[in-house]
C-alpha cells in the first residue's frame, strides 16, 4: 500500500510539473500587458516602463518559469514585497500574492462541492437502491426517467430558472451567497442550499443509474446467489452482499466528480454569483490576470490528481480483488 502511494504521488508530481510547464508557456503567448493593469488613469509610457521593471516582466520566459517553480517551494521576493512559500506568483491586479487569494476563495468552493456531494451521493445512491430493490415496478421506471432527465439538464438553465422561481418569484429561498460556517452555520446553510440542490439534481442522476445497474448486476453474481441459496433473507442479501460489490465503481465516479468540483464549478459559481475558485478563474481570464489563472489552474489540477490517487487507494481497500499495480 505504502509503495503504491509513494509511486503514485511521484507520478502525480511529474504530471503537475508538466501541467505547470505547459500552462506557463502557453499563457505567455497571450498578448497581455499586465503592467498597464497596475497603472492608472493618467498612465504615461515612463510609468509603464517603471512598473514593468519593478515586476520583472522583462526577463526571458524560461527564467520567469524557473523563478516561478522555485517560488512554490521556497517563496520568493518581488521588488514590491516578499511572497511566502507556497508562492504561486504575484497578481498585478490585486497587488497581492496569488496564494492567499486562492486560500481565501477556497472555503466557498469547498462548501459548494462538499455540500452538494453529500446531497447527490445520498439521494442518488438512495434512489438507485430503491429502484434496484423494486426493479421492474413503476417506481423503478419513474426513477430511471428522472435520472435521464436530470442528466440532461444544464446548470445555466435550471439554475437560472430556480433563481427566477424560488428566489425572485416566490421568495422562499435566499439569494445564494457564501457566509462562513464558523460565523453563522444557519446562514451558511441557507445561503448554499439552492446551489447544492441544483448541482445535486444534475449529478445524482449518474449515481442512481449506476447504483441500480451495479446492484442488479450483483444480484445475478454467484456469491449473491449462493448467499440466497443458503436461505438468507432478501434484505440481508441485498444490503450485505450485493451492496458491497456495487460500491467500488460508485466511489470511482464520486472521486472524479469531487475532484473536478473542488477544482472550481465555474458555471455553477457564475450562475449563483458565488465567489469561489471557479469564479476567480473566469474573472482572471477577463482581467487577464495571468498569475492568478496559473495558480487556479495548478490547484485545480492538483485537486483532480490527488482525488484520483485517493480513489485508487480506496478502491483497493473496498475491493481486495484489485491489485495495487
Amino acid at each position: 500500500m505504502l509503495r503504491f502511494l509513494i509511486r503514485r504521488s511521484l507520478g502525480a508530481v511529474v504530471i503537475l510539473v508538466l501541467i505547470s510547464a505547459i500552462t506557463f508557456f502557453l499563457f505567455f503567448a497571450l498578448p497581455a500587458d499586465p503592467a498597464r493593469l497596475a497603472c492608472g488613469k493618467n498612465c504615461d509610457p515612463a510609468s509603464l516602463a517603471l512598473i514593468n521593471e519593478n515586476l520583472g516582466l522583462d526577463k526571458p520566459i524560461p527564467v520567469q518559469y524557473g523563478e516561478f517553480m522555485v517560488g512554490i517551494v521556497a517563496g520568493r521576493d518581488f521588488p514590491v514585497g516578499h511572497c511566502d512559500a507556497p508562492c504561486f506568483g504575484y497578481s498585478f491586479v490585486n497587488q497581492e500574492p496569488v496564494w492567499p487569494t486562492i486560500v481565501d476563495r477556497f472555503p466557498t468552493t469547498l462548501s459548494l462541492a462538499l455540500g452538494a456531494a453529500v446531497v447527490f451521493l445520498a439521494v442518488g445512491v438512495g434512489l438507485g437502491m430503491i429502484a434496484a430493490w423494486r426493479r421492474g415496478t413503476w417506481i423503478d421506471k419513474l426513477f430511471s426517467s428522472l435520472s435521464l432527465l436530470g442528466q440532461s439538464l444544464q446548470v445555466y438553465f435550471v439554475g437560472v430558472l430556480c433563481l427566477a422561481w424560488f428566489v425572485s418569484g416566490l421568495s422562499i429561498m435566499e439569494q445564494p451567497a457564501y457566509h462562513p460556517i464558523t460565523e453563522n452555520p444557519a446562514r451558511w446553510f441557507s445561503g448554499m442550499l439552492l446551489p447544492w440542490l441544483v448541482l445535486s439534481l444534475i449529478f445524482m442522476a449518474n449515481y442512481s443509474r449506476m447504483t441500480r445497474s451495479q446492484l442488479v448486476e450483483q444480484l445475478h453474481e454467484d456469491h449473491v446467489r449462493t448467499a440466497r441459496a443458503k436461505g438468507l433473507s432478501g434484505r440481508t442479501v441485498f444490503f450485505r452482499y450485493a451492496w458491497r460489490g456495487a460500491i467500488a465503481p460508485i466511489v470511482t465516479i464520486f472521486g472524479m466528480d469531487l475532484g473536478s468540483l473542488l477544482g472550481g464549478a465555474m458555471i455553477t459559481e457564475y450562475t449563483f454569483t458565488l465567489h469561489g475558485v471557479g469564479r476567480l478563474a473566469v474573472d482572471s481570464v477577463r482581467l487577464t490576470d495571468l498569475p492568478m489563472l496559473m495558480g487556479v489552474m495548478l490547484i485545480s489540477s492538483a485537486a483532480i490528481v490527488v482525488f484520483t490517487i485517493v480513489v485508487d487507494a480506496l478502491y483497493a481497500v473496498i475491493d481486495p480483488r484489485v491489485r495495487l499495480a
Binding site: 498597464r36 493593469l37 497603472c39 498612465c43 504615461d44 491586479v93 422561481w165
Partner: protein
C-alpha cells in the same frame, strides 16, 4: 430485460420532459407591459466657492441622525490604492473621503444637494496674491492624525513632495506640474521625493511656520483651490510614510481610520477618536463602522438592496449602479424607489475618431451623423444610465449649454443615416473602411451590434476589432494604433473645462497613453487653449471653455459625444443621510447614519 420494458421507461422520460416544459411554460412573461416609462429629467447643480465661515466646523447636524451601527458597503471593484497619493479612480476617490482630509474639499448640502468648495484642513479655500501666482493656506487649530499627533504644515508639505518620487505613478499631477514643470519633468525638481532629506526650495513650496503653506507658481493659476481638493494634497506624517508600504496603512486624518484591509476582498473603517468634529465642516461620524466588501457585481448589489433583508437593510453602495437588466424591476417597486437616487455624473462617454487615420473631415462628419447614440445608450442601461449627449462637455460643467446638439442626436437616437449617406457621397468615399474597436464586456459587445448596423446603413464598410477589456485603454492609447473608432470616457476632475479641454484636445498631448485619443492637433485649438488657460477669473473662463469645446466638435469633429453618464443607485431601508457627491459622481458617505 426486453426492449419493450426499457422502451416504456423512455416513453415515460419523454413524457416527463414534456411535463417539465409545461411547467416552465407556466412561468409568467416579462416586459413592463402597461405604461411606457418616461425619461427622468434632472439638473446638475454645479459648484460654488465657499467662504471662510463656510469652512468652519462642525458640519450641520442631519435631522433624525443617530450615532452607532455598522453600515455594509457593497462595491464591485476592489480598491487598489489606499495611499491618497495614488488615488484617482471614482471608487477610491469617494472612499478616501471618510479617512483622508485635504486642504480644500467639497461640501454637499444635505437638503438641496448643492456642492460648495470649502476649506477642509485649511481655514478657507486659499488666498492668492501676486496676480494669482502665489497661494497661501493656513491650517485650522486642533487637527490631529489618528494617533493623536497634531497635523502641521510639514505633514502637508510631505504629502506633496512624496508625489515627486518615482513610485507615485497614479495620482493627479496638476499641482506638481504647475509647481515644477510639465509632463514628467516635474520629477527632476525633487528626484526620489523627500525621502533622502531633500525638499522643494522655499521659492516653490514654503512653510514659514507650523500652520502656513505657501505655493509659488511661475504663472497665474486660478484653479488652485480645486487642485488642492484632490486626495493627494492632504497630510502625510513623514515618520509613518513607508513609500509603497503606506498604501496598505495610510494614517487617517478624517473621522474614520482603516481597521482591516484585505486586498481583493474588503476593507473595514472604524471611528477615529482623534478626529475633532469642530474642525470639519463636511464630515459626520454617525456610524461606528463601514464594512466594505468587493466583488459585488451590479446585479448582486441591486438584488440585495432591492430585497432589503437582514443585514442588507443596513447596506449601501458608494458607486455601484442598479444593474441595467433590473432597472424595470426597481422602477416598478415604489418602496425601493423611495430609497434611490438618479443623478448626472461628471463623465461623458464619447467615441474618438482616430484623426491620424481618418483625415477627411467630411468622413468624420458622416460618422458623427450616423452614430446611433440612443440605441447605443440603451445597451448601457438607457435613460437611467445616461442622457444622449450633444456636446463634448457634460452638464456638471459650469456654463454647459443644454441646447447644443449640432448632430441632432436627440432627434435621431438611431443616427441620421440619410444625412450621413449624403455626406459620404459628397466626399466620394462610399464604402469607406472603418475599424471599430471595443472592449470585450457585455454592454460593449451589444453596443457594437448597433454601431456596425448604423454605420453600414450609412455606407461605411465596418471591421470590428474586439480588444481585451483589461488592456483596452493601453491599446487605444497607442498613437500608432490601427483603429479608426473607439469609445472612451473622460471625467472633469473638477467642474471646469480646464480639466477636460486641454488634456483631451491639446496637440501637446498626442503621445502614448494620453487622453487625447483622437490625436487632435489643431493650431487654432491649441492657441485658444493657451489663451483661456491664462484667464484669471474662473467665472469668465468657464463659458470660454465650453465654447471652445463646442468649436472643437463643430470644426474638427475629433470625437462624437455619445452620452452623459448618470448614476441610478439604491440603499437599504435602515440607512439615512444618503446624498450625491456630484464632483466625484458617487454616493457621499460622510453623513450616512443607521436609523
Amino acid at each position: 430485460m426486453t426492449v419493450n420494458r426499457t422502451s416504456k421507461v423512455r416513453t415515460c422520460a419523454i413524457a416527463l420532459a414534456a411535463g417539465a416544459l409545461v411547467l416552465t411554460a407556466c412561468s409568467e412573461g416579462g416586459g413592463s407591459g402597461s405604461d411606457r416609462s418616461t425619461e427622468p429629467t434632472m439638473e446638475a447643480h454645479g459648484i460654488t466657492l465657499g467662504s471662510a465661515a463656510d469652512s468652519t466646523g462642525p458640519a450641520k447636524e442631519v435631522p433624525g441622525a443617530k450615532k452607532g451601527g455598522t453600515v455594509r458597503v457593497l462595491q464591485r471593484d476592489a480598491y487598489e490604492y489606499l495611499d491618497p497619493g495614488q488615488i484617482y479612480v471614482t471608487d477610491e476617490l469617494i472612499m478616501q473621503t471618510v479617512y483622508n482630509r485635504t486642504l480644500t474639499n467639497y461640501q454637499v448640502d444635505d437638503k438641496t444637494g448643492k456642492t460648495k468648495l470649502v476649506g477642509d484642513l485649511a481655514t478657507d479655500i486659499g488666498r492668492s496674491s501676486d496676480g494669482g501666482r502665489t497661494w497661501t493656506y493656513t491650517l485650522k487649530d486642533g487637527l490631529k492624525f489618528e494617533d493623536g499627533t497634531p497635523i502641521t504644515s510639514r505633514d502637508v508639505r510631505h504629502s506633496i513632495e512624496r508625489l515627486y518620487a518615482k513610485y507615485q505613478t497614479n495620482g493627479p499631477l496638476y499641482l506638481q506640474q504647475w509647481l515644477s514643470g510639465e509632463g514628467q519633468t516635474f520629477r527632476k525638481a525633487l528626484p526620489d521625493g523627500p525621502y533622502g532629506g531633500d525638499h522643494l526650495p522655499a521659492s516653490v513650496l514654503d512653510t514659514p511656520d507650523d500652520k502656513t503653506i505657501v505655493f509659488h507658481f511661475d504663472q497665474p493659476r486660478a484653479e488652485v483651490p480645486f487642485a488642492v481638493a484632490m486626495p493627494n494634497i492632504g497630510a502625510v506624517p513623514p515618520g509613518k510614510d513607508k513609500k509603497e508600504g503606506y498604501n496598505k496603512a495610510p494614517v487617517a486624518s478624517g473621522p474614520y481610520k482603516v481597521a482591516d484591509f484585505k486586498p481583493g476582498k474588503g476593507i473595514t473603517f472604524v471611528r477615529n477618536e482623534h478626529w475633532d468634529p469642530k474642525t470639519d465642516p463636511i464630515r459626520h461620524q454617525y456610524v461606528d463602522r463601514f464594512e466594505v466588501s468587493f466583488g459585488h457585481q451590479w446585479m448582486d448589489s441591486t438584488r440585495r438592496l432591492l430585497a432589503d433583508q437582514g443585514a442588507d437593510k443596513r447596506a449601501m453602495t458608494w458607486n455601484n449602479a442598479v444593474d441595467p437588466a433590473q432597472i424595470s424591476t426597481v422602477l416598478k417597486d415604489k418602496e425601493a424607489m423611495a430609497r434611490s437616487l438618479t443623478r448626472t455624473q461628471p463623465y461623458v462617454d464619447v467615441v474618438s475618431i482616430n484623426t491620424s487615420r481618418v483625415k477627411n473631415k467630411k468622413v468624420r462628419e458622416a460618422l458623427a451623423w450616423a452614430f446611433p447614440n440612443g440605441q447605443y445608450l440603451q445597451q448601457y442601461g438607457g435613460p437611467k444610465a445616461g442622457e444622449i449627449a450633444g456636446s463634448l462637455v457634460g452638464p456638471t460643467l459650469k456654463g454647459h449649454n443644454r441646447d447644443f446638439d449640432p448632430f441632432q442626436k436627440r432627434k435621431y437616437p438611431g443616427g441620421n443615416i440619410k444625412k450621413a449617406k449624403e455626406l459620404l457621397k459628397e466626399a466620394g468615399k462610399e464604402g469607406y473602411r472603418i475599424v471599430y474597436a471595443y472592449g470585450n464586456d457585455k454592454p460593449a459587445q451589444d453596443a457594437s451590434v448597433v454601431v456596425v448596423r448604423a454605420l453600414e446603413a450609412a455606407g461605411f464598410t465596418v471591421e470590428k476589432k474586439e480588444l481585451d477589456r483589461g488592456t483596452y485603454y493601453t491599446q487605444i492609447g497607442k498613437v500608432n494604433n490601427t483603429y479608426d473608432l473607439y469609445r472612451s470616457s473622460w471625467s472633469a476632475d473638477w467642474p471646469s473645462g480646464s480639466t477636460v479641454v486641454p488634456p483631451v484636445y491639446s496637440g501637446k498631448n498626442v503621445h502614448d497613453s494620453s487622453p487625447n485619443y483622437s490625436h487632435l492637433n489643431s493650431p487654432t485649438i491649441n492657441k485658444e487653449i493657451e489663451r483661456i488657460e491664462r484667464i484669471e477669473d474662473l467665472d469668465k473662463a468657464a463659458p470660454e471653455w465650453v465654447k471652445l469645446a463646442e468649436r472643437v466638435l463643430t470644426e474638427e469633429i475629433p470625437q462624437v459625444p455619445v452620452f452623459y453618464n448618470r448614476l441610478f443607485t439604491l440603499w437599504g431601508s435602515g440607512i439615512g443621510g444618503v446624498k450625491f457627491h456630484e464632483p466625484y459622481g458617487a454616493v457621499d458617505p460622510t453623513a450616512v447614519f443607521v436609523r
